[in-house]
Subunit: 282 residues, 2 copies
Amino acid sequence: MPTSNPAIDSAMRTVYFVSDGTGITAETLGHSVLTQFESFRYRRVRAPFVDSVDKARELVARINENAVLDGRRPIVFSTLVDPQANAELRRSRAMVLDLLDSFVVPLEQELGLQSTHTIGRSHTMSDTGSYHRRIEAINFALAHDDGQSAHGLQTADVILVGVSRSGKTPTSLYLAMQFGVKAANYPLIPEDFERDELPSALPPHRRKLFGLSISPERLSEVRNERRPDSRYASLENCRLEVSAAERMMRREGIRWLSSTTKSIEEIAATIMNEHRLHRNRD
Amino acid sequence: MPTSNPAIDSAMRTVYFVSDGTGITAETLGHSVLTQFESFRYRRVRAPFVDSVDKARELVARINENAVLDGRRPIVFSTLVDPQANAELRRSRAMVLDLLDSFVVPLEQELGLQSTHTIGRSHTMSDTGSYHRRIEAINFALAHDDGQSAHGLQTADVILVGVSRSGKTPTSLYLAMQFGVKAANYPLIPEDFERDELPSALPPHRRKLFGLSISPERLSEVRNERRPDSRYASLENCRLEVSAAERMMRREGIRWLSSTTKSIEEIAATIMNEHRLHRNRD
């Protein structure tokens, strides 16, 4: 029965991300592992807040149903902490990849400490100070989006500069959300290129500046979605703005990267690295 | 030599999060695992973009230095994919917890597929469509923050309602950033409670509404940071607003949760779950 042999069949399966908390850890790692299998196609099921044995039993029933319907066993990425719920899950017809067990048990030995087996700790707001810093950083990013306010730039951890639509806003928000870092952003606009000077609010904070550039083709695409067939979005204008911005950043000694082929995560991680910024959340 | 016995010493150690990409997967899981050890104190070192054997060697030198300085071996959470870089890392004096190896190898067997051993795939913008959806969702959240625009609410996936400072903005942005979900947010203000009616823009979208509440004490604290000693921030006023908002949500059949003791991740994951929303990113 070749179709029921999971070892040789890589057609559609169901993958579960199971957690007693938000499921974000299970999903992040599971996703990262699965991208190593390019040709693998699967249905994704999120199962957060499985925080009782009863809920684990209900979930196992669903998983087993899937096993029958799919004709192959589901894959489960789990961060369940409760031993009893875990035992239920292991009785399912799935392949269970248990994220915590694989690392918590060896760490207990290494550290000579018992793990707390506490549910859903990783994204719990146990530390009010940390929560507060993130919210503060998000509010800062919103208040200092698109050069809205030069006031308070001295408290920024980093100030992103670049032409309109080069990715400054999502990057600022991600830096705030993920790392609790206060990121302002300031546009470089045609008037700046005419004067051939940085916006006057920026030179006092030169060491905090980080530039984003983008390919003119991609920029024109993005701008055309917002303002179709405008001069602003034309490839010719995008070429002029991008080359002027890059020339200015080079002259001013501002480090920059191109956002064209990078995800928000990659841009943010690069900035954290280059500016030697530290996670401010915990 | 009890101080050099890592099994019984749980004082300050160095923990590395090593990746050939952004390091976000390594850090997310590592953090989640380490929160299971409440009394464990450590120094955190992020080492993203270790994408060559040379960089792996440099890192190993740093790790070994730490081992000597700390008097105990560092812990390394790694998502390195390149086999040669991995081999270098394993030669270090650290305890290496390899996230991909622990799961990729068993999955190769289960799926009958070779993994691609490709570096930094999980946060690479390989799928332009997915990137585009996230950016679009972030722009949507910004354009529909705090009831700024009723126009376009019909394209929202979810509309968050609640009193001012109940956590709507960070939650909307997180839903966009993490899940590519379009979340608008609309405040419930004293005028709505006087009229005892939902803001007129909302009833047509009743099924998309989700409420955030908050304890009056916490709300007063948060508002006092923004406008100290105002009537707006007073505990008395916060009590009135919160109870009026909860009464209104109950009457209108709007599901809601209290953000008081929840992290942004928990609130967002709950909303995804309750509204049966699907990740829109990939």
